[in-house]
């Protein structure tokens, strides 16, 4: 398994040139399912399901906002697990570093969407763009935390050093999330803040077609996350190949110069 020639193979487990292939059928199927599912969710959410007795039309955001929020947490969880797997010597592999970076980037996208949709929902319901709602505030901190993580990843350096420090940063950030959540929730509970999805004021009973639509929303957007993750991962792999090949091209050119001289 571990032979001297592994040093020469930056990607892939086997012999031969790196695989620059088309997306696999699995990924394509996931993408198709995501599009169909999301389209059905939107149709159901905007037209078929009834407005809520208490919240009125705003409840329709229930089909998109919680799924998007859940996925951002999922994405960062995947990044954290992947980072842990990278740090653990037995499972150390470039794949996990790539996965962590890809998942974090997609996670940041979804976190931004959580903030945007949460803010719009708050504006629609409470008239304010930002109410320091505990979940949204935690999400805002999460957003900045992982933007920092992505910035750290972009700093150039030797691969293993970069990967290790990024992995540690991902874990440090993820470990902070529950602390942030508890502290912010406690902070807000002292002031009885209006909360978009506060279960104690939960006058919104999600039932019937609304429940199914919400579940469909969760499933479809999770599939969309998987598709985006897969493609971001592929992009990372191609960029790695490109970087290492670019170096070889440059080396070959320099050697060619030496020969001519």
């Amino acid at each position: 398994m571990s032979s001297p020639t592994t040093v020469l193979q930056p990607t892939g487990a086997g012999i031969g040139p790196p695989q620059i292939d088309r997306p696999s059928p699995v990924i394509r199927a996931v993408g198709a399912a995501a599009i169909v599912g999301t389209a059905v969710t939107v149709w159901l959410g905007l037209w078929v399901t009834p407005p809520d007795e208490f919240m009125g039309e705003q409840v329709r955001l229930l089909y998109m906002h919680p799924p998007v929020a859940w996925i951002s947490f999922l994405a960062f969880g995947v990044a954290a697990c992947s980072s842990a797997l990278y740090l653990w010597p037995r499972t150390r592999s470039r794949r996990f570093d790539r996965l962590a970076g890809a998942s974090a980037e997609v996670g940041v996208v979804f976190t931004g969407l959580t903030l945007a949709s949460g803010s719009i929902w708050g504006r629609a319901t409470w008239g304010q763009w930002w109410t320091w709602d505990p979940l949204l505030t935690t999400t805002a901190l999460l957003f900045v935390l992982y933007l920092g993580y992505l910035a750290l990843r972009r700093v150039p350096g030797e691969f293993d050093a970069c990967a290790r420090r990024s992995a540690i940063a991902a874990l440090v950030a993820f470990v902070d999330v529950p602390i942030v959540y508890f502290s912010v929730t406690w902070w807000r509970s002292l002031h009885q803040a209006p909360s978009v999805l506060n279960p104690t004021t939960g006058k919104t009973y999600v039932h019937g077609s609304m429940l199914w639509t919400m579940l469909l929303g969760f499933v479809s957007l999770t599939l969309a996350y998987v598709w985006l993750l897969g493609h971001r991962y592929r992009l990372a792999r191609f960029q790695e190949i490109e970087d290492s090949e670019g170096l070889e091209v440059a080396l070959a050119e320099r050697r060619a110069e030496a020969v001519i001289a």
Binding site: D21, V26, T38, L113, F159, Y233, E245
Partner: protein, 78 residues
């Protein structure tokens, strides 16, 4: 105020679509560049870049991701 609801849906869907498209475009670009250059250089299995350190991790064991990395020589054109 269903204007806000529409805004929320539009923002989410549009952002996801833009991100998805940007990913696909960048990926296709990288693939095209790699296909172009791989004919010009020796396969990396033989010539290693000098700075590759000894700390490069051992070859990856097969993981669940192998479905994404599936080599498809039959479908890789041209």
């Amino acid at each position: 105020m269903s204007g806000y609801v529409a805004a929320g849906y539009v923002v989410i869907l549009a952002a996801l679509a833009v991100y998805a498209i940007s990913l696909v475009v960048r990926e296709r670009g990288a693939r095209a560049r790699l296909r172009g250059s791989s004919t010009a250089t020796a396969p990396p299995a033989i010539t290693a870049p000098a700075p590759v350190p000894a700390q490069v991790p051992a070859p990856e064991p097969p993981t669940a991701l192998s479905s994404i990395d599936l080599p498809n020589p039959a479908t890789t054109t041209p």
